[in-house]
C-alpha cells in the first residue's frame, strides 16, 4: 500500500527491505533522516548501526563489512562523500559490493545545505584515485529511489562493484506517496556469499580468501584493471537505464536527471500547451551513461537542439556533447549555489533564449 514517505526515510526502509543490515555513517544535512531512521530500525531486524567518528571511518567500516560478505551501506552529502572517496576507490579495487547514497548539497567546499547536482563529475568519473567506476543511479521521485535501492544491493552483488545513488536535498526532504516492496529473505544471502568463495567469512572450507586492493606488479595491476573494464562494458550493456518523455515528435530535447528532470517535465507540459514540441531524455543511470539514446535522438531529423539542465555550472552537459558529437547544438541551462530553477524559467529560456 502506498504511504506518504519522507524521501530519506523511504530510502532507509527500502534498504532494510532489500536486506541491508549494516549501516555506517556520519551526520550531515540534508541526509540525516537516513541514519536517524536506521539507527533504530536496523536493531529491529538484527542488524547494526554505527555512527562513526568520521566519514573516513564510516566508509572503511563499509569496506570491512562488505569484505565479510555483509549487505552494507553508507550515506552522506557532498562534503562527506568527498571524504569517503579514498575508501570508495579501495572498495572498487577490492571488488566489493556496497551501496553509497549521496544526497547532494551545494559546493564547492562546505558550501550550503540546499539542493544541488554539483557532484556529477565526482560520482561518474571516478571521484577517488585510479581507473574505476561506481554504478551510479539518479532517481527522480521517492518511489523511484525506493525501487532503485531495493535492487541496488543485488546489482552491487552481481558485479561485485560499489553502487552509488545520488539524489539531492529536495528529494531527501520532500514527502511523496511510495510503496516499500516486501522484505527480502536474508537467510540465504550469507550462504550465497560463502559459496561464491570470495567473502572472508570464515576458514571452514580450508581455502584462504584474500580481499586486497594492492597489486604492486604493473602487469598484475594492468591485467586486473583490464578485467575491471570488461566488467564495466558488461554493466553498460545490461544495466543502462533511461526514460524518454514525450520524445516521439520532440524538436527541443531537454536532458536532465533527478529532481531537475521533474522540473523539465513540468516545463514541457507548459511549452506544449504553447505549441512548442519539447521532450526529455532522463538518464536513470549516470554511469553507465545512456549515450545510445542521445545518439539516436541526435540523428533524428525532427530534433533541432538539446538543452541540458542541471543544478550545477554544467557537468553532465559534457557527456551529452560527447553523445551528440556535433550533430546538433547542445545548450546548457543551470542554477547553482543551492538555487533551483522553476518550470517558468525553462519556458522563458526556450522562448527567449535566456
Amino acid at each position: 500500500m502506498k504511504k506518504l514517505w519522507k524521501g530519506n526515510e523511504a530510502i532507509a526502509e527500502a534498504a532494510v527491505a532489500a536486506g541491508c543490515r549494516y549501516f555506517f555513517g556520519y551526520p550531515i544535512t540534508p541526509q540525516n533522516e537516513i541514519p536517524e531512521y536506521l539507527s533504530w530500525r536496523l536493531f529491529e531486524v538484527g542488524g547494526a548501526f554505527i555512527q562513526a567518528e568520521s566519514e573516513l571511518s564510516a566508509i572503511n567500516m563499509v569496506y570491512g563489512a562488505a569484505s565479510a560478505g555483509a549487505r552494507a551501506m553508507t550515506s552522506s552529502s557532498s562534503p562527506g562523500i568527498s571524504l569517503k572517496q579514498e575508501g570508495i576507490s579501495y572498495i572498487a579495487a577490492a571488488e566489493l559490493p556496497c551501496v553509497i547514497v549521496n544526497m547532494m548539497r551545494s559546493g564547492p567546499g562546505l558550501g550550503g545545505i540546499q539542493a544541488s547536482q554539483g557532484d556529477y563529475f565526482q560520482a561518474t568519473k571516478g571521484g577517488g584515485h585510479g581507473d574505476y567506476h561506481c554504478i551510479v543511479y539518479a532517481p527522480s521521485t521517492v518511489q523511484e529511489f525506493v525501487d532503485i535501492i531495493y535492487n541496488a544491493f543485488d546489482v552491487a552483488d552481481e558485479y561485485r562493484n560499489p553502487v552509488m545513488i545520488i539524489g539531492d536535498g529536495m528529494l531527501g526532504q520532500m514527502m511523496e506517496p511510495a510503496e516499500i516492496p516486501p522484505m527480502k529473505d536474508t537467510s540465504k544471502m550469507f550462504e550465497k556469499y560463502h559459496k561464491d568463495e570470495w567473502a572472508t567469512c570464515g576458514h571452514s572450507d580450508g581455502k584462504p580468501r584474500i580481499i586486497n586492493s594492492l597489486r604492486i606488479e604493473p602487469d598484475e595491476n594492468e591485467e586486473f584493471t583490464l578485467r575491471l573494464y570488461k566488467k564495466y562494458e558488461e554493466i553498460a550493456k545490461k544495466e543502462t537505464k533511461v526514460e524518454e518523455y514525450r520524445m516521439d515528435d520532440a524538436e527541443i530535447v531537454f536532458v536532465a536527471y533527478g529532481s531537475v528532470a521533474r522540473i523539465c517535465k513540468a516545463a514541457i507540459v507548459e511549452l506544449r500547451e504553447q505549441g512548442i514540441k519539447a521532450g526529455l531524455i532522463r538518464p536513470i543511470t549516470l554511469y553507465p551513461y545512456p549515450t545510445a539514446t542521445i545518439e539516436k535522438a541526435a540523428k533524428s531529423d525532427k530534433v533541432k537542439k538539446f538543452v541540458t539542465v542541471e543544478m550545477s555550472m554544467g557537468q553532465m552537459v559534457e557527456d551529452v556533447r560527447l553523445a551528440v558529437n556535433g550533430k546538433k547544438p547542445v545548450e546548457f541551462y543551470g542554477r547553482c549555489g543551492g538555487n533551483v530553477m522553476m518550470p517558468a524559467d525553462l519556458v522563458k529560456y526556450i522562448k527567449e533564449g535566456k
Binding site: 506518504l4 514527502m175 506517496p177 522540473i263
Partner: protein, 179 residues
C-alpha cells in the same frame, strides 16, 4: 491539480499544515507532494512548504505560480504575493498579518485563526486553518481530513478530539464566510 504554498514563522505549524493536506489527499488516492524549506531559515525565521495534490502524476514538486497562498506572517505575504496565479486565493492569519495584498486579481480572505482556534485548542490554529481550506479546495472531504489529523497525531491520541473540533469549526467558519 492544486498548488499551495504555506508560509510563516517556524513554530506556527506551517510545515504540519502542509502535511495535513498531503495526508488528506493520499486518503483519497490522489498523488501529492510536500516540499519543505529546510535548514537555518527555519530557526526563528520563516518556514514554508509547497504542497501539490492531483489526480495526475506530479512532475515538479516546486511551485512557481501557486493557486492558493496561506500566510501566517507579513514577511511571507511580501515574499510570495507576486507569485500567486491570476484569480488565485490568498488566505492570511489576520491575528498577525495586518497588511493587505496589493494584488487586485486575487481573492483575499482574512481569518483570525489564532483567536478562533484558541477557544478550542490554543495549539490548534493550523488544524483550524486546514478546516478553513476544505471549502476553498472543494475536493478534499472532511473524512479525509479527519483521518489525516488522526494519522499525524497517532502518537498523541489525547490531542486528537480537540484538533478535530478545530477542524470542524474551521470548515463551518469558512462555509459561512463564502456564502
Amino acid at each position: 491539480m492544486k498548488k499551495i504554498i504555506i508560509s510563516g514563522f517556524g513554530g506556527q505549524g506551517v510545515l504540519s499544515l502542509g502535511k495535513f493536506i498531503s495526508y488528506s489527499a493520499i486518503e483519497q488516492n490522489l498523488n501529492t507532494s510536500w516540499l519543505p524549506s529546510y535548514g537555518p531559515e527555519m530557526r526563528g525565521g520563516t518556514a514554508n512548504c509547497s504542497v501539490i495534490y492531483s489526480d495526475e502524476e506530479i512532475a515538479a514538486p516546486v511551485i512557481d505560480r501557486p493557486d492558493i497562498l496561506i500566510v501566517f506572517n507579513e514577511p511571507s505575504l511580501d515574499k510570495f504575493e507576486a507569485s500567486v496565479k491570476e484569480g488565485g486565493i490568498i488566505i492570511s492569519n489576520s491575528d498577525i498579518v495586518h497588511k493587505k495584498p496589493t494584488r487586485k486579481d486575487v481573492t483575499h480572505y482574512e481569518i483570525p485563526v489564532d483567536t478562533l482556534a484558541s477557544a478550542i485548542n490554543k495549539r490548534g490554529a493550523n488544524v483550524y486553518m486546514l478546516g478553513v481550506l476544505l471549502p476553498v479546495f472543494g475536493d478534499i472531504t472532511e473524512e479525509s481530513a479527519v483521518q489525516a489529523v488522526e494519522h499525524v497525531f497517532e502518537a498523541k491520541p489525547k490531542v486528537i478530539p480537540s484538533n478535530i473540533e478545530c477542524l470542524k469549526a474551521g470548515i463551518a467558519y469558512m462555509k459561512n464566510l463564502m456564502k
